[in-house]
Amino acid sequence: MTFYEKELNRIRSIVYSNEGQINTVIGIRNYIENNYDLDLNLELLSHTQLISKFHLLRLFKKYYGQTPRQYLIDKRIEKSKEHLTIGLSVTETCFAVGFESLGSFSTLFKTKTGKSPTEFQKEQLSRSEIDSEFGTLEY
C-alpha cells in the first residue's frame, strides 16, 4: 500500500465514516442537479430527505464545503452559460435556470464570470461563427 493510499484510508475514517449522512447529502446534491431551475429553498430540500433544514445546511456544508445556496448558484451560472452559448436570449436564460429577476441574474453573472450575460453571449456567438458559417443557433 502506498503512502497515499494509507493517507486516504486515514482521511476516510475521519471524514467519511457516516454512510447515512453521505447518502443524505448526495441525495440533496442530486436533487439540486436535477431541479436547479425550480424555486429551491432549504425548506423544500429538507423535505426531500426528511431532515431539519438546519441539519441539512450543516451536513451539506460539511461534505461539499459550501452551502446548498452557493452550490445552486454556481450550478445555475454554469447552466446559463450553456443556454447563452446556444443562443437563448438573456431573459429566456434567466428564467430557464431558475432566477426570478433579470437584474439580479445579470449582476450575479457578471460577478461570477467577469462579463455580463450579453457580453458573454456576443463572445460565444462570434466564436462559433468562426467555427461554422451558420453559427449554432439551432437547438
Binding site: T2, F3, Y4, R12, V15, Y16, I22, Y63
Partner: protein, 131 residues
Amino acid sequence: MKVTLISIPVRDQEKALKFYTEKLGFLKKKDVPLGGENRWLTLVSAEWQDGPELLLEPAPNHFEPCKVFQDALMEAGFPYTQFDVDDVDAEYERLTKLEVDFSVKPTKMGTVKFAVFNDTCGNNIQLVEEL
C-alpha cells in the same frame, strides 16, 4: 488577480505533449521556444478552451529539488494535480484501452469518486468525479 495557469513538472516536454494531447485529449494553446530544448508549452481542456492553461514545464531537468520532490511524490503514489471529469468509470475504461497505467482504480470515497494514473512524465494524476 486571476487564476489561469496550473503547472505540471515534466521530464520530457515533447513526450508530455503527446501524452496529454493524444491520450488525455487536451489541446495545445501556446508553444514558445525558450532556448535549447525548453519551451513555454501550455494546454487547455477541449471542452473548456478559455479555461485555465496547463503548463508542462521542464523544471525537474533544471532544478534538482523539483526532481527530488517529484520522485518522492511518485514513489508515495501521491497525485499533486487532479482533473475533474463527469464520469470516472468511463474515463478509466477509455484510458485503460489507450494503455494508461492506473495505480488506483475508480474508488468511491464519501462524496467523490476518484482514480489515479501515471502520466509517464513523472507524475501521478488524479481524476475526480463529485457524487
